[in-house]
Symmetry: C2
Subunit: 433 residues, 2 copies
């Protein structure tokens, strides 16, 4: 393909949807991708750039001049434009903004850049359709035609007063069935959900999901209409949040993908492994302290991986359920109720598993005292592990720390050490070595 002339390449790519072009570009070399981006119209390439992986986009933008980037930015909605500019080095940001011809667009992007990316302000776009409550329906339709030409998708029509204060909304459906005469004031719906500009993006996602909204207006503390957030941005928030939690649970510290470089993957994985190593070295010490049991109860030491695995598995299960419950706001009831429930649950699980251990001990012809020691100490380890797995996330959440960090290696490692310690401690008490 790349040996063909410009026209052929242009014709080839122009046929495709921008999301597909982005897929193709990710397979090409940097030079080839830059060449294609420069060749196509910026109306198309701006969308392609937004679809690209962050790393790929960064590399391509490095090869474009501030002027060329500004041309791409002109074609984008303000929210995407602000996201793209935010990724540039600071000095380039200013150069690019200075090159944007549409001054209003530039000013809006500058405004959006000021918001934290994890807030409603960081998600919102300035493009929206708004009408004044004092307009007539006819006037409104005329104005809307003009506004709609600039907005990719019309979701709701927001109604404001003369001071740009949000008063309500007009749905497109209402407009379709509305009589041509009459004032907006008389037909708009005054009940409208909105979010404040400094609201956390996960909160925005929850509100939009709960009320099944496809777009939500964003206001400041005085209810001035600032922008709107659409459901497609929320889909991204939900996906990224889910992936982050999943990766935390798997012991990966940062957003990585299978195709990232070995160096980036190591940076994301090694820290938790080092934590696990220190945990393991801790259990070396603990077992060393019970060395004297080796002569009479050497089998105790054969059971340590089992105890560690149980403590780890139970802890991860408990923490995963709680973390998910906290995220979905379904954790109700008092701490005491939860404590009793976890103890009850681990008693049932522990007794079932202890029963299996007793059967195993019988088959292996271990002394009964030894088998019961294993079963009872395992039961205790399971109860404690479940409590740690449940309450560490709750405590973190109460202190405003993301409880998801308490899933995965953190819980596994601490439960491993703690479980092995408890196991030997109870065994010593029961067997008396």
């Amino acid at each position: 393909i790349e040996t063909a002339n410009d026209e052929q390449v242009f014709a080839f790519f122009n046929e495709y949807h921008h999301a597909d072009i982005a897929d193709i570009l990710e397979e090409l070399s940097l030079e080839q991708a830059t060449y294609v981006i420069k060749l196509l119209d910026s109306e198309k390439t701006s969308d392609v750039l937004i679809e690209l992986d962050e790393d790929d986009r960064e590399r391509i933008l490095k090869n474009l001049s501030a002027k060329e980037i500004a041309e791409e930015i002109e074609e984008l909605d303000t929210d995407d434009a602000a996201d793209m500019i935010a990724e540039l080095p600071e000095e380039r940001q200013e150069n690019v903004i200075a090159q944007i011809e549409d001054e209003e667009h530039a000013a809006e992007i500058k405004e959006l850049l000021a918001y934290d990316e994890d807030t409603a302000g960081g998600l919102m776009a300035k493009e929206l359709v708004k009408v004044n409550e004092n307009w007539t329906v006819t006037q409104c339709v005329k104005e809307m035609r003009e506004q709609a030409a600039e907005v990719t998708r019309v979701h709701s029509i927001y109604v404001v007063d003369d001071n740009n204060i949000l008063k309500g909304r007009l749905s497109l459906k209402d407009l379709l069935v509305a009589p041509a005469r009459g004032k907006i004031k008389d037909i708009y719906i005054p009940k409208v959900d909105y979010v404040y500009v400094d609201e956390d993006d996960e909160e925005v996602a929850k509100v939009m999901q709960k009320y099944d909204l496809e777009a939500i207006p964003v206001v400041d503390q005085e209810k001035h209409l600032l922008g709107r957030i659409t459901i497609d941005d929320i889909v991204d928030v939900i996906k990224i949040e889910a992936e982050k939690d999943y990766q935390l649970a798997a012991g990966i510290t940062q957003e990585v993908e299978a195709d990232d470089s070995i160096f980036e993957l190591t940076k994301a994985r090694l820290p938790w492994l080092v934590l696990g190593l220190f945990g393991g070295l801790g259990s070396v010490f603990i077992m060393g302290g019970y060395e004297e049991a080796l002569s009479t109860y050497k089998e105790l030491f054969f059971f340590t991986p089992l105890i560690a695995a149980m403590a780890g598995n139970v802890g991860v299960q408990s923490s995963a359920i709680i973390v998910q419950g906290l995220a979905n706001d379904v954790v109700k009831g008092s701490l005491l109720q939860r404590l009793l429930k976890e103890v009850g649950l681990s008693l049932i699980n522990g007794i079932a598993l202890g029963g299996l251990v007793i059967i195993f001990g019988y088959i292996m012809q271990y002394p009964a005292s030894f088998t019961f020691t294993i079963a009872i100490s395992m039961l205790c380890v399971i109860i404690i592990a479940a409590l740690v797995g449940t309450f560490v996330p709750i405590i973190l959440d109460k202190r405003g720390i993301d409880p998801a960090i308490a899933t995965g290696p953190f819980i596994t490692t601490s439960n491993d050490i703690f479980g092995i310690f408890l196991f030997f401690y109870i065994a010593k008490l029961m067997l008396g070595f």
Copy 2:
């Protein structure tokens, strides 16, 4: 509140959004909740019922007659109606459908019930706005007003021919700026994304996300327009999928929540714990086989939890990255490349961690041969665990099995046993006991 008279309760609840009423009902007793549902208008309660937790809804519906349920169903869109009916016992389903007065609605619901719930057909609703390509714009607007009255949200207007075959779409924005005269044939957009009715729901989610669609038409093999899927249904698919993967990774076998009963939680958690127990008992056997090393190298046994933890952690990290990559279709390149990459990655991690072990051994004044045995066998365990974690999901995926089951306890347990076996095997080779 519940001691008040009907009118007060009615007035109280009528003020609220249906999602908020659902939240309140979940806090009430079954009798109270049923009472409120019966009291309010079915226009409102049908939405409330859909928002409720599946278990709560089931309990309330049990207290309603087929006639009462049918009234709720009449108010719902076909997709929600079909979902709600599908949850009823089979014989009640037929009774309820027979009681629906609107025959067209009943027929549509029956049609939807026939589709598998994990397919496009299971997600779609029959409510949509469609126009014939042979109509004029004026005729079209008139027809649309009627259709729009039945559709909660108008996303796109689909264009069909006389045989109901999907030809393209008209965006609402186009309609706003279109001239009043002229035929639909001349102004519709022939490029339209669509999905087949038997497409998997996760695939539908991917297509809608990739092309940033808020609604997508569903067609049969001959491209007859059957229904449409909206983005809010896709948000649910994405969330449920993410939660399922997360729970699998945490060793929980089925969709449970923190507030489910102890019995349900046990059913979800115990199976993986039993698997972990058998794994642990397996390592008891393995270590028993190397009992003779106890006299000279007792510290080897102190290191088993460390080895098991490393094997487990590395395996989970590798599998989580691959499972996520497979889900997002970003796993590219040949199997050999991936093999080399994983080996390279685990070499780096393993050497770093081995270095720490050597420092530890030096501090503890272990013999150098012993320390190096630990470090080298740990390195081997890490490499093998990473390969198992990477390739088990890939193989499962190739065979059409959900690779997510290979995260969590499955990988941890098998890597535990395998790691401990490898550790002792290499130690025996190197130390010669």
